[in-house]
């Protein structure tokens, strides 16, 4: 009796795990990344998918700013990047000179409203402190690993971004605000599966 149970359990587990493996393979992201700064956390971790022969890249990222770095803040962002060009440099290296994209980031916390609280007259504040829309670029260096390595690629990237509110400030003060004041950066490492 005991043996039958053990066998059944083993079978069930086996079935579950293969099932799981299949769905995971289907849903498993194409890459995972870890990022420093980039207006989405002191450190952030994310993952995403690539489409159209990797010319389009989407990702979701969670970022955290600890109290010692001006937090505590929790952020969540979603991004879409278009990769117009890539340059092969040798058999293993690839350079992506300039990808361009959008990033929407959500700032968690009661101090950041998405909908203007009812105590204010309509349009008292026209923007949403909880949500920033970023315009971003990314340049990266990708190292292609051999097939046996288990992971496909390893990339390092530098991202530049500005957001809706910085842009508004810049456009209305182009004589005074400098580009360097409204463009912010981040760097990261991406692992492609």
């Amino acid at each position: 009796m005991k043996q039958i149970f053990a066998l059944a359990a083993l079978l069930a587990m086996g079935a579950a795990s293969t099932c799981h493996a299949q769905s995971v393979r289907k849903l498993a992201p194409d890459f995972a990344q870890i990022q420093y700064a980039g207006s989405n956390g002191w450190m952030g971790v994310g993952a995403g998918y690539e489409f159209f022969n990797r010319h389009l890249r989407t990702n979701l990222q969670y970022g955290y700013v600890p109290p010692s770095k001006g937090g505590p803040l929790h952020l969540f962002s979603g991004a879409v990047f278009y990769q117009p060009a890539r340059i092969r440099a040798g058999s293993h290296l690839q350079i992506n000179p300039l990808d361009i994209g959008f990033k929407g980031s959500y700032q968690f916390g009661n101090d950041y409203f998405f909908k203007l609280p009812s105590r204010y007259p309509p349009n008292y504040y026209w923007w949403k402190p909880a949500f920033r829309l970023h315009l971003a670029t990314e340049s990266s260096l990708t190292y292609k690993l051999p097939k046996t390595a288990g992971i496909r690629t390893l990339s390092t990237y530098i991202e530049f971004n500005t957001n809706d509110l910085y842009l508004v400030s810049y456009v209305l003060n182009a004589g005074s605000l400098r580009v360097g004041e409204v463009v912010k950066a981040g760097i990261g490492v991406r692992v492609g599966f």
């Binding site: 420093y36 700064a37 980039g38 207006s39 989405n40 956390g41 002191w42 970022g63 700013v65 770095k69 001006g70 937090g71 803040l73 952020l75 700032q107 101090d111 950041y112 105590r119 204010y120 007259p121 504040y125 923007w127 402190p129 920033r132 530049f160 957001n163 509110l165 910085y166 508004v168 400030s169 209305l172 003060n173 004589g175 005074s176 605000l177 360097g180 004041e181 409204v182 463009v183 912010k184 950066a185 981040g186 760097i187």
Partner: protein
Amino acid sequence: MKNKTNLLKLLRNAKQYLIFLTLLTFITSCDQFEFSPNQSFDHSSPSNLNAQNLARLRQNAEDDTVTIVFAGDTQRWYDEQERFVKKVNSLENVDLVLLAGDISDFGILQEFKWVHKRLSALRVPYFGIIGNHDMVANGRQIFQQMFGPLNYSFVYGGIKFIAHNTNGLEAPGENIPDIGWLGHELNNSEGAKYIVTVSHVPPFNASEFGTASVKPYTELLQNTPNLLLSLHGHVHQHQDFYPFGDKVHYMTSFSFEQSAFLLLQIVNGKVLKSIINY
């Protein structure tokens, strides 16, 4: 032979590693690396500006005239801030600048830094007062970190300046304005000859000030002897009047959008006002 090549490789790697580390420290210490627009400080944001500026003010030789540049609502007008600084620096005998709130527009750290970067070129000390826009998002923490307490006072040239938070609509249920604190300050334990109060939202903008606070606040001011002025920003136009039918003299500042400020010269309790365009 093999050991030698290995050693060379190792050295080369170490060199690369060192270059990488140097680059990383350079990169991470630069201002470009932002963690969030809402972070309350970064490695180069200043702190305790009001206290520092008070220390600078104390180095002045005080005479019988106190000359104040009164402005408010720097907000998103950076071009104007630069012209403002040039104009103020061209004036002689200015003691201090009072900036009556809405230093930022979106309550974001970068804005506070952009404004301070420009105003730090002033020859005279300036004092920041919190505005309603400075309380949006993480603004309150940013203001506190950069300028110091939201309610503060100091005596200079025989005048007690009482700067305080009157942005009641931003935080309903909180003690804004803090009537108890204000009453204590207006008691003038320092024995200053005159008093000037300065805050952002004026009490005649009742809903933004906090309707319930209007009466106790205005009564407090009414009952303060030697109160010369109640200064405010927020309305983006210059007003100079007695709106409550009492003896309290209310004055509001121009915003930076209007490229003008008020020069207040106070001599023996008399206020001489000039409007200065820039």
